[in-house]
Amino acid sequence: MFSKDKEHGSPLNDVAGKLTPYLYLAPTLIAVALFLLYPLFSTFGFSFFQWDGFSSMEFVGISNYVALASDPKFWSALTTNLIYILFFSIIPTIFGLLIASLIGRTEVKGTRYFRTIFFIPQIIPSVALGTIFAWIYAPRFGVLQQILKLLGLGSLAQPWLGSPQTAPYAVGLIGTWLWTGFSVIIFLAGIQKIDEYLYDAAKIDGANVWQQFFYVTLPELRYEIVVVVIMTLIRALSTNVFGIVDAITGGANSTRPISLYAYELAFVQNKVGYAASIIVILAIIVFSFSGITMLTGERS
């Protein structure tokens, strides 16, 4: 029995001989290929055509990409995404590192409860976060405005979401609120795995607190840093901000990220090919950021 199985390469080939493993894999492979991979490549294909979604497609080469380079709305959306990267990804990562290393190896009772609380925003629909913060930032009967009044700082109150000067930062701060707790938890878990010996050695060498942070904590946390940066970067560029922004401003006042701009082009203005070229740029940015972060993590 077993010698025959060896011929087949696997002893589990009872359903369809050599094809058995492929049979088990097929539903997943078909789902991923049809609904993820095919549309991904198709987006790339669409980006070389001019198409309104109904009539016939017209091949236009790279002219969508040429048009995009001089589209002020595209550049404005890209700038907005950069602000979101700062607030959703970079600032929470830095805050998380600082707070986690401040706590360091000190035994904190109830970490479990803090962790449970810090993860709550992750499981709430982004659009719900959008509607809650829309009220917090509201110019009339808004929560923040009332708090400032109570603190005697009423003069500082302004329509946060109502002007392009403040709106992208107001939305960005939601990201900082959303991801700081998460990043503290990940880094804290990482720090507690670092060998105490490394810190002792650094202290013997006369390293001060900052030197310990830069020469022991940071390099030892490279894996956790990669995890946090990639996760938050992807959210700052795609899914997370799309829902938050659509619910809070609908994209007005320079809060529109690239993804929302592409959505409007494809499904409201029927510029399907042009929208696809913007998505291609977005995907390249996301994939290369993730790639760079992963490589840096491996090298150091």
């Binding site: 696997s10 492979l29 709550i120």
Partner: protein
Amino acid sequence: MNFKRTLYRLLIYLILTILAAATIVPFVIMFLGAFREHTDIILRGPLALPQVWDLKNFKTAILDFNFDLYTLNTLIITAPTVLISLFFATMASYALSFMKMVFQKTFTLLTTVVGVMIAAEFIMIPLYHLLNTMGLINTYWAAIFPQVAMSTAFATLIIRSFFQGLPKELVDSGLVDGASSWQILWHILVPLAKPAIITSGALTTVWTWNSYIIPLVMLPDQNKAPLPLGLVLFQGEHTANIPLTMAGTTITALPMLIFYFFFQRHIIKGLSQGAVD
């Protein structure tokens, strides 16, 4: 020295408590706001407590603004998505971990890491046209199928890595007992992989419940909208009514909050994927 250490600990607790409070406050605001009256917010400001604790706003949201329908739609989309993707992913993980095939590495990459990296907005445009050609736009399937693909990739990532840690002898012992490959999977491996399957199931439930882009694009018919989409549709028409918007937001978010408290260990583990152990 001892005094200094106590002070330091106090500082740490202070920071963590402030951070925890900051995390919760927006949800408290949402919850309290859902019980207020609009005129009351105008008269007594946004920070006052509700005067009467009744469910009036929730009733209005459900009876007059379709939140019952949105909840039902969410359930109709979420339940099959989670069940189908767990079923698919379990079988795929079995093949990828215990069987030999050509291009095993490529298949593994495609059905796990690559699948997980593809965000909804990367694929929304051709997906709409594909599902339109299939005649599925405005049917629940149009929201379910893409969500199944994304969830399956994630579940395969988690379940496969769990299967990898199991001894191969489990399969051999099943074979010796004369079990078929199907029986070995469901009677030997799946019971052991329960933690990984529950983690995947919990996470995909949260993501499907919260998904916004796919339903937005695939379900233009307002009567098919799940909660997040319904909330935005409602808000677009009634922005001015703060308490009603907060009641709608609570209806959208509360089920996931409750779900989280039951499955928090699994959800936290899944969310931090190996970074926290």
